[in-house]
Amino acid sequence: MISVKNLTKDYTKADGNHIRVIEGLNYEIEKGEKIVIVGPSGSGKRTFLRCLNLLERPTAGQIFFDGEEITAKGTDINKVRQRMGMVFQNFNLFNNLTVMQNLTLAPVKLKVMNEKEAREKATELLKRVNLLDKADVYPASLSGGQKQRIAIVRSLCMNPEMMLFDEPTSALDPEMVGEVLDVMKQLAEDGMTMVVVTHEMGFAREVATKVLFMDEGILLEENTPEEFFEHPKTKRLQDFLSKVL
């Protein structure tokens, strides 16, 4: 479904120097897979995720989505992003809109559905995450866990074929992590293709089809959750796991 070829990303620092955050990364993601990416901060995992929907423009390399090269010049990236939802660490709900308006804005403006269909779809999804009573409130009055569940639902309203999660539970109070992970697990069970950057090793172990370890911009190790956690091959991953587990 997604094919990443030789992905490289450099940032230009304020002093004009370049730093390489991703170096020659190759990876294939099949439909229905749940990929969890872990690694220390500054390892490039978030940048990798943000390259997949071109929030970050790769410096070099190619990304294919269903055979189409989305890194090619002239690709309608908005069309691609409609098929690829994303959930952020900081939720990024639209603060000036009610929950219902948050959910229906894109589907209606992009003519994916009409107003009535969008509201029906949003209502059904809100019911599924037990937040229908919040339909008409503004995001400021929601808890972090509620915001994140709404953010997931907002992406789902566009009927995406895959979902990207950028540390979705890192900004949450500990007691709210569970409610968000539950929604993500539900989504995984429904067969959604997911790419998740997270520090939740329990989630990785339970849900992932593959776990990726990134360090200093390099995809260092990739394996099934069992092998990844029980028999880490590299010294770097062994050290990392001994600290986080």
Partner: protein, 220 residues
């Protein structure tokens, strides 16, 4: 202050107020509306980094901010006719004041738009919305809330700036007071009264501002 002056002031109060309501206030509203549209276009041209245009608007802001409004008024009203372009007093004043509001408020609007967290626009992108759709439905409405107090400042400033249109023969509040005083020689009282009219209009605007801000706050 004798009875004659009191009677004169009572009579002139109505005339000054009417000049305010019929000339100064419409000029303010017309200039501010047009100016705000310019301000948004100028701010967005810079934020969206529209080629060429983003540099042109900087030149526009530079020229307008660095020349006195009264000079601009003289150029438009007294200068342009010599090359065959004639505007009446009101249109001249409207033109100059719109351009002025556009230049000054573009900075306010630009700062307000840039104060909206970048994640809001990224979330728009991730839903498949374009830059302009995101601006229109998400970023600008939030920026307006931030920009509201400084923009209110600008509109109140503009009410007082309309007195400059006196210099291009527009019969607004100040000119009306001047005309009455020229007949009666009560300059002190008439100019004081003109000041009072500005005070009243601006006070009303101040009340509207705080009410509107409270209403915006409730929508969070």
């Amino acid at each position: 202050m004798n009875e004659r002056i009191i009677n004169e002031l009572i009579e002139s109060f109505g005339k000054l107020l009417m000049a305010g309501l019929k000339v100064s206030l419409p000029l303010t509203i017309a200039s501010f509306s047009a100016g705000l549209i310019i301000a948004f276009l100028v701010a967005l041209a810079q934020i969206a980094k529209v080629p060429v245009l983003r540099h042109l608007v900087r030149v526009y802001v530079w020229i307008i901010r660095c020349t006195p409004m009264i000079v601009q008024l003289f150029i438009v009203y007294f200068g342009l006719p010599s090359i065959g372009i004639k505007f009446n007093s009101f249109v001249s004043a409207w033109l100059v004041m719109s351009l002025s509001v556009g230049a000054y408020c573009s900075e306010t609007v630009r700062a307000a738009i840039q104060s909206v967290p970048v994640g809001q626009l990224e979330a728009c992108y991730c839903d498949g919305l374009t830059f302009w759709q995101g601006m229109m439905h998400v970023i600008v409405p939030q920026a307006l809330r931030t920009a509201f107090p400084p923009l209110s400042n600008s509109i109140i400033g503009l009410v007082k700036d309309t007195s400059l249109a006196y210099s291009v023969a527009l019969v607004e509040i100040l000119a009306t007071a001047q005309r009455i005083a020229a007949r009666t020689y009560d300059y002190f009282w008439l100019y004081l009264e003109a000041g009072l009219i500005y005070l009243i209009i601006c006070s009303v605007l101040t009340v509207i501002q705080s009410r509107a801000e409270a209403a915006l706050e409730r929508r969070r």
